[in-house]
């Protein structure tokens, strides 16, 4: 064994951790090597220095602090900690998340009218198809689904009644005009008023497509105007092959009758969320005989021209919806003046009728969508 080999074993030799043979070999070398004996002694002294170090003591109060840290906090505190700690990080993140979700929901809802109408397509289409198939003049009692739809429409009707309250003179005139309308039965309306004692009677029923408004809790007037137009278009797509025109009338009649006899259990007195009254003066539900789009360059001038036309031809403006970029006029034009009315419209702007049956009633109900 060399000196190097022997000194590699010094640490274990000091700790008496060598196997018997190893120890014998090291001891044999030490017996013949004074340098290694001296080196081993210095090694022992070094280890002795180390082992003479005073032991360290934990700081005062250490045990109490450990026990406190180990004690489980009450569950409300643990919950709050998990939710809000570290608060400089979690609170801003949670607040930002809430704001983002809210903004996202609003943007998606506003930016996607198909979402707003999806409820209409899903819920009203079957009922409307069923109604269209029923050709009897006096429809049987409304189905539960129609009753539900009717109650929704009643709510919108009550809102329109509020709007009418804000324009009482025009509304009274409009009611007088609507009185002879055969579709709106007076007796069912009275019956409905009894059933809906707590709510004001609906001034006018709404077209079925208005059902989708249930999905729109807050609507601004201009938004409402756009929505009315969209409702018209959507309903036209869903229900408006020309041959179904008479069915549409019957469906409307059924709809009105179902409205006047609300379903048992239906929340006739359900509170109506107040909202800004749209610029709808007067109302009548019967679907128009003619509808179309009048594209113009100067809308104000055209509105004046239409007003003059209405006065000259003995027509009546029964409804108006104003929005910043669209106006919807509902007019009643005598059949004998209708041809001239259309010619004059073509002079005022580009008239594109979307619905114009070959045979017209004595009083033609026309819906104009005036747009730039």
């Amino acid at each position: 064994m060399t000196c190097h080999d022997a000194r590699e074993q010094f640490s274990a030799r000091v700790d008496d951790a060598l196997a018997t043979e190893e120890r014998a070999a090291v001891d044999a070398h030490l017996a013949t090597c004074a340098d290694c004996r001296r080196e081993l002694q210095r090694f022992r002294d070094t280890v002795a220095l180390m082992r003479a170090v005073a032991p360290v003591r934990a700081p005062a109060g250490f045990v109490d602090r450990v026990l406190e840290a180990a004690r489980p906090a009450p569950w409300p505190r643990r919950l709050l900690r998990s939710l809000f700690l570290p608060w400089p990080v979690k609170l801003p993140m949670e607040a930002a998340a809430i704001v983002l979700v809210a903004v996202g929901v609003v943007l998606v809802y506003r930016g996607a009218p198909e979402i707003q109408h999806s409820a209409l397509v899903d819920s009203s289409a079957p009922a409307m198809r069923q109604a269209a198939e029923n050709t009897a003049p006096q429809a049987p009692a409304p189905t539960p689904s129609r009753e539900t739809d009717a109650m929704r429409a009643m709510r919108d009707a009550r809102e329109l009644a509020k709007a009418k309250d804000q324009a009482p003179a025009f509304a009274r005139a409009q009611e007088a005009k609507e009185a002879p309308e055969p579709q709106v039965g007076a007796a069912p309306a009275e019956k409905m008023d009894k059933n809906v004692a707590a709510a004001p009677p609906p001034a006018t029923p709404q077209r079925p497509e208005a059902l989708s408004r249930d999905a729109e809790p807050q609507t601004t007037p201009e938004r409402r105007g756009k929505k009315d137009l969209k409702d018209l278009q959507v309903a036209r797509k869903l229900e408006a092959p020309p041959a179904v025109d008479t069915r549409e009338r019957e469906m409307t009649s059924q709809y009105l009758r179902s409205e006047s006899a609300p379903a048992p259990g239906a929340r006739a007195d359900a509170p109506v969320a107040p909202r800004a009254a749209p610029s709808v003066a007067g109302s009548s539900f019967v679907p128009p005989d003619v509808s179309g789009r009048l594209t113009v360059s100067d809308r104000d001038a055209v509105l004046r021209g239409v007003a003059e036309l209405v006065a000259r031809l003995g027509a009546v403006e029964t409804r108006r919806v104003d929005t910043p970029d669209l106006q919807i006029l509902e007019l009643t034009v005598p059949r004998e003046s209708y041809a001239e009315f259309v010619r004059e419209l073509a002079r005022l702007g580009r008239w594109q009728p979307s619905k114009e049956p070959p045979e017209l009633p004595a009083q033609v109900r026309v819906v104009l969508q005036i747009a730039r």
């Binding site: 210095r42 070094t46 045990v63 450990v66």
Partner: protein
Amino acid sequence: MEGRTGDDATLVDRLRRGDPRAFEDLVIAYQHRVFGVALRMLNNRAEAEELAQEVFLRVHRAIGEFRGEAKLSTWLYAIASRLCLNRLTSGERRMTRQGEETLTRLASSEVGPAEEMERSEQETALHRAIAELGEERRIVVVLRDLEGLSYEEIADALEIELGTVRSRLHRARMDLREKLERFLP
């Protein structure tokens, strides 16, 4: 540290049964040893206390996993050593290693100002020499020469071979012998 004491066996049983006083007894019994290892390794009292507290909290949470094959003290040293080495090598230390001033305070950590003045140069040099060892050698020296663990217990605690323990310990002592040459008789 030799052999598993009857006190440790009883303590482990009480801990497993959920005796509320058992954990307190464990902390009281081992606080100085665990804190000592942490202080020798980290050279910072506040950081050492934080780490020692974490050691006991881990024991508190994981006492059910203690199989009893090793001594309770070895298990505690294993946890403390692992946490120290992880902290030293992971770079997550919030307090940087201190210089000579800290080493001097470490040498005189339990004495008053007057005694501190009398603290020998030898002891200061000794603590500095330990602090200057590499982490893997330092933990072996601390466990062997300051805490008195056997080679086998060190191997268990650090999960290394016996030969590795012997080799690291020898290199560490050789370093210390050179640095403490002038203090040797």
